[in-house]
Structure formats: structure tokens, C-alpha cells
């Protein structure tokens, strides 16, 4: 019997590793790949040339009226954004009181950022603060009318403030509500189940504009005289219920993916329904559907632009409203305003998207097929 000998390790061929290897395998693998790479580079170059020329080289960054933005080869009229920036962020919120909005936003960032960083300490305190303290704090400060603060009616709110108020309230409330609806839809109790199915199917089967319109115009007709509640509040309820219906189906999708063995193992250990849900099935289901949840959040964030229909001026609404200002009537005003709005929305949505991918990878425990990218 011959003796077995291990073959010594050898280095991989030089053109398959390092930068050269990467270029070969990703960009210039074959003649066809090389041609496509070159065509793509040419297209990217042309696009960048146009974008940089319009957005920077030929753009106007400062000025007090339309005269600044009427050059022969005029690019973006950023001076318009600069002049209207306050309105875009706060709407018609009284200028002297805008520090209150700033304070709330600062508190939000201070409370949210450590919550989103997994390694940051005091998670429990942090969560309690954000759930119990922040909402009333933000409410009283923004609305005013207490402690000598001037009242700012919600009709005066606008711009990014309205966008964020609607989006954040919708996001924060639609997830828990969606989870309850998903559990209800899977329930064995016929009445609970049919109520949840009915709710989900009605809100999912109706356009958001209809929901907002009903909340704004129809609802007051059914309320007794004198009972009237805030338009923004009605809009918040409408958006939340609408998103919750979508969220419920996303969460249910996750629950459907949990193997029966997980329920059986939990039952065999003596765990009841609520403990099984909270500790075993829901955490797994939510992790599976992170992409779907964030999808719904992003959809909701962009759908906030529809509140214009009931006379609330969100970021996009207030930008469009300012197009009517004759002081800034130039051929580039519209496109500049829309590009600015698009960029603002994109920044928020992209941030949510990246954070969700970060969480997906962080929560991976070795049984997933591949990393999120």
C-alpha cells in the first residue's frame, strides 16, 4: 500500500487575482464584454457632461430675482431654491417660531440615530423615550398654544415639515398596526379574521387619493355639527390605515414563510401563542420581509406628495406653489425645482434602502442564501 501524501498548496494564476483579475472577470472577460464596457463608459461620460454642465458650470447659485437666471446658456437656477429654502422646509410656519421645528428635528435625529446604530448603548431607555416622550414633546412644541408658546395652526405647516410629519407618523404607526392585522388575518377566530380581511381588502383596494379625499371631505359630513378635527390629523389617520393594510400583507408573507416546525418546537417547549409570536415567529418573519417593509415605507414616503389633493402643502406641493411667483419666473425655474424635490426625496428613500440592507446583513445568521447588496 503506497503512503498518501498531501499536495502542497500553490498560488492561484496571477491573472485571476488582484486588480487585473477583477478587470478581466468583470469588465473585459470576452470581446463582447469589452465592447459593452466601452459603450457604457461612453454613455456615462456623456450623461455626466450634461449633468455637470447644467447643474454646476452654467448654473446660477445666488441672486435676488429672476434676472440672475436669464443667461444665454442658463443651467440650473439654484438661486430660486436658495431664496425659497425657508418655505420649502417650513411652509408658512411663522418665521419667529421656526426654532421649534428645528428643535423637534434635532431631538428626532438625536433620538433616532443611536436607536439605528446596533452597538449604541441604552437601547431600552432610548426606545421608551422615542415611544413615550418624543411624540407628545413634538406635538406640543409644533402645535403650540401651551406654556406661552404661540399656536401655529397646522394649516400653516408645509414643505419638508409636512412631508416628514406624515411619513414618520405613518411609518411608526403602520408597522405595529400591520403586524396586528396580519396576525388577525391568520387567526382561527372567525370574527377577528373576517374583520381583518375586510379592513385590509377595503384599504388595499382603494386608491390613496380616495382615502385622503374621504378623510378630508366625506368624514366631516358624518360627524355631528361642531365636531371637527384637524385636517392634518385626518390625513395622518388616512395614510396610516392605508399603509397598515399593505404592511399587513407584507408581514403575513413573512409569517407564511415560517416552517411549521418552528411553531411545533415552541409549543413543545410550553410557549403560548403570544410568546411564540413575539419571540420565535415574528422576529424571523420580520427579518425575512425587511425588503418588503422598506418597500412599503418608501412607497409611503413618496405617497405623502398626494396630500396636496386635500390642500396640504408638502415639499413637492410647496415647490410647485412657488412656481407661480413672478419674481422667479424663468425658463429654468420649474426644472430646477423638480430636480431639487427629486433629490430631497431620493436622499431619504436611498437612506432607508441602505439602512435596510445593513440590517439584513447584520441579522443574517448563516442560513440565508446570499448577502444583501
Amino acid at each position: 500500500m503506497s503512503e498518501w501524501q498531501a499536495i502542497p498548496e500553490r498560488v492561484a494564476p496571477a491573472n485571476t487575482i488582484g486588480a487585473v483579475g477583477w478587470l478581466r472577470s468583470n469588465l473585459f472577460g470576452s470581446w463582447r464584454d469589452a465592447a459593452l464596457t466601452l459603450i457604457a463608459l461612453y454613455l456615462i461620460y456623456n450623461l455626466l457632461e450634461v449633468a455637470i454642465g447644467w447643474g454646476f458650470i452654467n448654473a446660477t447659485f445666488s441672486g435676488s430675482d429672476r434676472a440672475a437666471c436669464l443667461k444665454e446658456t442658463q443651467g440650473a437656477c439654484w438661486a430660486f431654491i436658495d431664496a425659497k429654502f425657508g418655505q420649502f422646509i417650513y411652509g408658512r410656519y411663522l418665521e419667529a417660531e421656526r426654532w421649534r421645528v428645528d428643535l423637534v428635528m434635532a431631538a428626532l435625529v438625536l433620538g433616532l440615530v443611536p436607536l439605528l446604530i446596533p452597538r449604541a448603548p441604552f437601547k431600552r431607555v432610548n426606545v421608551l423615550l422615542m415611544i413615550l416622550v418624543f411624540p407628545p414633546f413634538a406635538f406640543f412644541l409644533l402645535v403650540g398654544g401651551w406654556f406661552g408658546l404661540a399656536e401655529v395652526p397646522t394649516a400653516d405647516w408645509g414643505g419638508l415639515l409636512v412631508t416628514l410629519v406624515v411619513a414618520i407618523t405613518g411609518i411608526a404607526l403602520s408597522l405595529p398596526l400591520g403586524i396586528l392585522l396580519a396576525l388577525g388575518r391568520r387567526s382561527d377566530m372567525p370574527i377577528v379574521q373576517s374583520l381583518c380581511v375586510g379592513f385590509i381588502e377595503i384599504f388595499r383596494g382603494v386608491p390613496l387619493i380616495t382615502v385622503l379625499f374621504m378623510a378630508s371631505v366625506m368624514l366631516p359630513l358624518f360627524l355631528p355639527d361642531g365636531v371637527n378635527f384637524d385636517k392634518l390629523l385626518r390625513c395622518l389617520i388616512g395614510v396610516t390605515l392605508f399603509s397598515a393594510a399593505y404592511m399587513a400583507e407584507v408581514v403575513r408573507g413573512g409569517l407564511q414563510a415560517i416552517a411549521r416546525g418552528q411553531y411545533e418546537a415552541a409549543a413543545a417547549l410550553g410557549l403560548g401563542f403570544w410568546k411564540t409570536t413575539a419571540l420565535i415567529t415574528m422576529p424571523q418573519a420580520l427579518k425575512i420581509v425587511i425588503p418588503g417593509i422598506v418597500n412599503t415605507f418608501i412607497g409611503l414616503f413618496k405617497d405623502t406628495t398626494l396630500v396636496l389633493i386635500i390642500g396640504l402643502f408638502d415639499l413637492l406641493g410647496i415647490i410647485q406653489f412657488n412656481f407661480t411667483d413672478a419674481t422667479w419666473a424663468t425658463p429654468e425655474t420649474h426644472i430646477t425645482g423638480y430636480v431639487f424635490a427629486a433629490a430631497m426625496f431620493w436622499v431619504f428613500c436611498f437612506a432607508m434602502s441602505r439602512y435596510s440592507i445593513f440590517m439584513e446583513n447584520r441579522l443574517a445568521t448563516g442560513h440565508e442564501t446570499r448577502n444583501a447588496k
Binding site: A259, Q262, L269, G270, K287, L363
Partner: protein, 253 residues
């Protein structure tokens, strides 16, 4: 036949005339079974014979429609409100392990003692590490189930069940999903558990294990208990023709 098959008076588990149907399919037929404390029972039989369903009725993962099941004298039924209390004392190990993939091995073992028995975290971790030691994987405590081999996962599943300090352990084909090389490491743990005096009911096709640890072997076919016998008698002198056929088939190779 010198060994006695008559169990003492107060059985740990007693099943009397238990019947169960899946829809119209009669899956368990007139099952009568007594298991006393410390007894090791092995249930075998062809697939679809109702072995798994039988042990799943004991902790009511499946509900029986007729007959009585008692655990330590307490009758159990589908609508028993204290089913969760009874399940605490009945550990179960599944063919597919069913570990919780989003938790570390240690968390898998501490979860139920903390949330069901209400013991503190430190105590639960101490207990978990003790049982992980016993199933010989103390060094894997901080890994996730997805990072372990099948044999290791099944041993974690055994440790997880033991952490509840059950009075009875049910094994539902614990080695059927494992590679041949890993079967032994799981069976070794089960043999040790048996030697420690745990009351065990095992559905398994591992006849070597059955011969070594079983007090009684139960052979099932078509939802019935065909034969109930001591290992020696069962293998060397089976009473029933159906048993003989089954044994000749599994020992063919």
C-alpha cells in the same frame, strides 16, 4: 419469557383506546399504551404506520378524537387549558431539529426556561451550559444553528429540551435526517440519557439502539400496535408474522 410486561400501577403515560383520524383517514386505531417512570420505549414500523402521530398525541401537537390520554394521572384533551403546563414536563426532539435559527445555541437553550419557567437569566445560562456540556458541544454555545452540522444541531435540540428539566422525553425519528457519520454522536447522547433513568419514547429505525436501551419495543402498522415485546423476544422470536416481515426487510442488507 421471564421479563414481565405488566407495568406497575401508576403509569407516567397512559393511552386508552385512543383513535385519531386525519379527515377520513383512520391514522390511530385503538391504541393502548402504558409507560412507567424510567421506562424506555422504542416505536418502530413502516412509514405511514402512525408512529409519529402517536407520540405527537402525547404532547398534543396532534389532537386525538377518541379515547383517553393521561400524563402522570392528569387527563389531557384538545381543549385542555393547561396543555402548556403539561408540555413543560414533556420534552420533544424532532426529525428536522427545529432549532430557532435567529437565536444563538445558548439562547435556544435559555429561552423556554426563562419565558416559561420564569427562572433568571444567569441561572438559565448556567443550566444551558451544563446541558450543552452533557451533549458535548459546550464550545458551540455562541454560534447560530445555521453554522452547525446536523449532528450538532440535533444535540443542541436535545439540550434545549433537557433545559426545561422534563419528566418525559419524546424522540421523533431523531437521526433520520442525519448523515451516517453523525448518527452515532446523537445516539451516544441518547444512550447516556437513557442510562440516567429518563423516561423516553423514541420513534426510530436504529435497531442497534433499540436492542441496547429499550425496555420494550412497539411495532406499529396501519395505525395499530401490532406487537409489544422485549428487545430479545422482538428480534429473536417475534410473535407476529407482520413483525417478522418488517425485520427481514430492514435487516436484508
Amino acid at each position: 419469557m421471564t421479563e414481565t410486561l405488566t407495568p406497575p400501577n401508576s403509569p407516567m403515560i397512559s393511552m386508552t383506546q385512543v383513535n385519531k383520524w386525519f379527515g377520513t383517514f383512520h391514522v390511530l386505531r385503538d391504541i393502548n399504551l402504558r409507560v412507567t417512570e424510567g421506562e424506555k420505549i422504542v416505536i418502530c414500523g413502516p412509514s405511514g404506520s402512525g408512529k409519529s402521530t402517536l407520540i405527537r398525541c402525547i404532547n398534543q401537537l396532534e389532537h386525538h378524537q377518541e379515547g383517553d390520554i393521561e400524563i402522570e394521572g392528569k387527563p389531557i384533551s384538545p381543549d385542555a387549558t393547561d396543555m402548556e403546563v403539561i408540555r413543560r414536563d414533556v420534552g420533544m426532539v424532532f426529525q428536522q431539529f427545529n432549532l430557532f435559527p435567529h437565536m444563538s445555541v445558548l439562547e435556544n437553550c435559555t429561552l423556554a426556561p426563562q419565558w416559561v419557567r420564569g427562572i433568571g437569566q444567569a441561572e438559565a445560562e448556567k443550566r444551558a451550559r451544563h446541558f450543552l456540556e452533557r451533549v458535548r458541544i459546550p464550545d458551540q454555545a455562541d454560534k447560530f444553528p445555521g453554522q452547525l452540522s446536523g449532528g450538532q444541531q440535533q444535540r443542541v435540540a436535545i439540550a434545549r429540551a433537557l433545559c426545561m428539566q422534563p419528566r418525559i422525553m419524546l424522540f421523533d425519528e431523531p437521526t433520520s435526517a442525519l448523515d451516517p457519520e453523525m448518527i452515532k454522536e446523537v445516539l451516544d447522547v441518547m444512550v447516556e440519557l437513557a442510562n440516567d433513568g429518563m423516561t423516553m419514547i423514541c420513534v426510530t429505525h436504529e435497531m442497534g439502539f433499540a436492542r441496547e436501551v429499550a425496555d420494550r419495543i412497539i411495532f406499529m402498522d396501519e395505525g395499530q400496535i401490532v406487537e409489544e415485546n422485549t428487545p430479545t423476544e422482538f428480534f429473536e422470536n417475534p410473535a407476529n408474522e407482520r413483525t417478522r416481515l418488517f425485520l427481514s426487510q430492514i435487516f436484508q442488507h
